[in-house]
C-alpha cells in the first residue's frame, strides 16, 4: 500500500458508473446497412468480431454477427434513435437500452492488472489492442470491455451489477489508487 498522502506515479483512475445513451442494433451486416449507420451516427459499423469503432463521444461495439451496441453521451438517445430509424431500410431493430447499461472507465498503466484479476480473458496488449472489445465474465458478473485508442478501458455492465462492480473495482485498484 502507498503511504497516505504520497503521490502514486502509476495510479489507476476509476470513473463511473455512468449512464450513457445506449442503443441496441440488430440487422444483417450488408453494405447498405454499413452505409446507413455511418451516415446516421458518424461511426463506421465494426463488422470484424470483437471490435469497436469510436468517433468522438460515440462508439459502436460488435456484440454478435448481427448485433451491435451504440454508446453516446446521455440525453442523445432519442435523437440517435430517430436518425438511425430514418437512415435504415429493410429488416432491422433499433432499441433504446440506455437504462440497462452503466459504464466505467479505467485508465493508467496498471489498469490492465485490474482487468486481469477480474476475468479469465486474455488482456495482453498482443491480444487486446486498441479497437478490440470482448464480452466476458467479469468478477462473477458479465461485462463488455473495450480498449480505447489511448490505452484506457471502458467496462460496460448491466445496471443491476453497477454498484457491486464499483465496490469490486475500488478494491481491485487499492494497490495503485488515484488518490491515496
Amino acid at each position: 500500500m502507498p503511504k497516505a498522502g504520497a503521490p502514486v506515479p502509476d495510479a489507476t483512475t476509476l470513473r463511473g458508473p455512468r449512464r450513457q445513451a445506449c442503443l441496441s442494433l440488430r440487422a444483417q451486416p450488408t453494405a447498405s446497412l454499413r452505409g446507413a449507420v455511418a451516415t446516421a451516427l458518424g461511426v463506421e459499423l465494426p463488422v470484424a468480431p470483437c471490435t469497436h469503432r469510436r468517433a468522438g463521444e460515440r462508439a459502436l461495439h460488435w456484440l454478435g454477427p448481427d448485433e451491435w451496441l451504440a454508446t453516446a453521451p446521455a440525453g442523445t438517445e432519442d435523437a440517435l434513435q430517430a436518425a438511425l430509424r430514418a437512415a435504415l431500410t429493410g429488416h432491422f431493430a433499433v432499441t433504446d437500452v440506455s437504462g440497462a447499461w452503466r459504464s466505467f472507465n479505467l485508465a493508467g498503466p496498471r489498469a490492465i492488472e485490474v482487468l486481469r484479476k477480474s476475468s479469465p480473458c486474455d488482456f495482453h496488449p498482443r491480444a487486446f489492442a486498441p479497437g478490440r472489445c470482448v464480452q466476458t465474465v467479469f468478477a462473477k458478473a458479465t461485462a463488455l470491455i473495450a480498449c480505447n485508442a489511448d490505452g484506457d478501458f471502458d467496462v460496460i455492465t448491466r445496471t443491476s451489477y453497477a454498484d457491486y462492480l464499483r465496490h469490486w473495482l475500488e478494491v481491485a485498484t487499492l494497490e495503485h489508487p488515484a488518490s491515496p
Binding site: 468480431p49 454478435g64 479469465p120 458479465t142
Partner: protein
Amino acid sequence: MLEIHCPYCGESRSEEEFSYAGEAHIRRPSDPAGLDDRAWGDYLHFRSNPRGAHRELWFHAAGCRRYLNVLRDTASYQISQTYRVGESPEDV
C-alpha cells in the same frame, strides 16, 4: 477447465463463458402428429450418450450469446472442432 473456440467471436474463450445445451443435430420431426408415442418419446427424451466423439450444442452465454456446435470426445474431453449452427462438421 475447457478452452472453447467460438466460431462467431473467432477466438478461444474459457469454459466459464459457455453453458452446455445438449446433443446437437437433433431434428424436430416434420409431422409430430403422425408419430406414435414411442417415436415422439425418442425425439423428446432419448439421446445417444456415446463414449468418444460427441456432437454437442453449446451456448456462448457471457460472450456473443450464440449457439455453436462442438465436436468433443466424452472420454478425453478433447474438442476437435467447433462450427456454427447450420453447418456440418467436416469429418463426421
